[in-house]
Subunit: 325 residues, 2 copies
């Protein structure tokens, strides 16, 4: 049976997790959150965070469109974003790379220069890795981090009536990719969002003490709201008109004949943060960092999240990107 036939990537992961030795008193969160959370010393000592991301040529990066520095930056930032989504701070990085036999040494060095630039920005130290040969260029980064137990934002921590907030406008990376695939030239703004996305480490640690649940928008807003609902056993409503879209994302939608909300709801790799927060805490957070965008709220019922249009029409919230669909 093929992976698409059992329901795709997340169904596969569920089956795999069920079969593995993955329970331990010190494993506070394992597979199913942005990063694993491990107790390495008795609390209130900081907890350890671990995330790992596997990036494959032509799937996560395209050597025709992306300069090697950009490939490196994106590889680093998508991992840093996973640590940011827990409310944590990244610390130690491990880089595995599989290169073609014909790979140019200078090209490889530039990938690492891009990774290094992101690491230096956040004080991350590269502590090891692996190199090997493959017909498909592949990069795996494992990133460790640290977080105070009181600041930890798990996907399962959302509460009924929490506001659903995002840290910035969505859909730019997916809009750029759609334009590129159709032979258009994206604007500089869209191209930068696609080729060198930035994690929101700049605000993550400010948000964490106020937020309940947090997740990074790597597979589209629809999928991420769905993850929070499923892990928190709650529902949610997202208001279509409240989804922040940059004017160039709207223009890209018009050029391609696509509803630009689809880029935000179903496109990947925005790396903005989606968090839930009690309404009364929002003014306190807004004094420390802004602007954030309210896109909906959590609801008490344990049911699939819904999308509410301007005219009050309610429909199922579309899911996000699946690597095997």
């Amino acid at each position: 049976m093929k992976i698409a036939e059992i329901g795709g990537e997340f169904a596969l992961i569920d089956r795999l997790i069920a079969s593995m030795p993955s329970a331990h008193a010190d494993l506070i969160a394992g597979a199913g959150d942005d990063a694993a959370v491990i107790r390495i010393s008795p609390e209130p000592a900081p907890l350890m965070l671990v995330t790992t991301d596997l990036l494959v040529e032509d799937r996560h990066f395209n050597c025709l469109w992306a300069e090697p520095e950009q490939i490196g930056i994106k590889a680093a930032e998508c991992n840093i974003s996973d640590i940011a989504a827990m409310g944590g701070r990244p610390t130690w990085m491990f880089i595995s790379i599989a290169l073609k036999k014909s790979a140019d040494v200078d090209w490889v060095r530039k990938i690492y220069a891009g990774i290094s630039a992101s690491c230096r920005r956040y004080g991350v130290v590269v502590a090891g890795g692996d190199t090997t040969q493959s017909p498909t260029t592949t990069i795996n980064i494992t990133l460790l981090g640290t977080i105070s137990p009181s600041d930890l934002c798990l996907r399962s921590h959302a509460r009924p009536s929490d506001l659903l907030m995002v840290t910035g406008s969505l859909g730019a990376s997916a809009a750029a990719l759609s334009l590129l695939r159709q032979g258009h030239t994206p604007s500089e703004y869209l191209l930068e969002k696609h080729l060198t996305p930035r994690s929101r480490m700049d605000v993550a640690e400010t948000i964490a003490p106020f937020a309940n649940a947090m997740i990074d928008v790597s597979d589209g807003l629809g999928a991420e709201v769905g993850h929070i609902c499923r892990m928190s056993r709650l529902g949610a409503e997202v208001h279509l008109d409240a989804i922040p879209l940059h004017s160039e994302v709207i223009a890209a939608g018009q050029a391609l004949g696509i509803d630009p909300h689809d880029f935000a709801l179903q496109g990947g790799e925005d790396f903005e943060l989606l968090f839930t927060i009690p309404a009364e805490k929002m003014p306190l957070l807004a004094k420390k960092a802004s602007p954030f965008h309210e896109v909906g709220k959590m609801t008490a019922k344990n049911e699939d999240p819904v999308l509410v249009t301007a005219d009050g029409h309610v429909q199922a919230l579309p899911g996000g990107y699946d690597h095997f669909s």
Copy 2:
């Protein structure tokens, strides 16, 4: 310039490390040992070990020869072996896998069943990972571990006159691979050594308090002795006749017209441990675990290691496997 032109995999790694932010007071050993060693609490608290290995279809495993459980066992054991080589104990595992779109769900489950079997053997917990799609099946495992500072065996810790010891006979995995590639059918013993190698966690923690330097034999004895010499700034002599070879490795050499010592010196993936130990400590260790094999000794001069034949002829010790040569 191609990777082979600058001197291969290790020359590439040296260049990459030099360009990256990789120095920190709490990073006791980084790239260049079997695992990174990180101080996470003031000593004498245990140190954290981290290793990562990237395995590529047709390079590290062959789907024609290996059952999926065997692929999983090998992927897990080669990482566990890196923790064993530091003298440590493995704890938390993270598994990234890139699968073909056509991958069969049951085949994937069996890979994870193999990984799980090895994890259960050593009490390792699978705490996370990533799944994606690729034309080349690729597995990256990151494994964390723990070690008491007093037991830590770095490659740089060898001392002049230390004995060079190995924990078992060498070359079986390479002999099996050579036979397979030439269309022969290896014996059950050789095939098992190649397809489901076992780390030497069973003796690693017993050896660690007595040994100075330790490394696992993953790229051939020649390469590993070279690593210890370079990191310890010492020389070494290996006695050709002292290299332990199983009778079936000798038979494979005869069948293929190859000196069977070449399998041990230049072949990969034996996963026995190579360690250096002061001669006076060896009787104490031998009482706790045995048999080990003395293959040579460290010398005081900071120079390339040598191979001494039975007739006293001295030559450069051949290097090991390079992924880009």
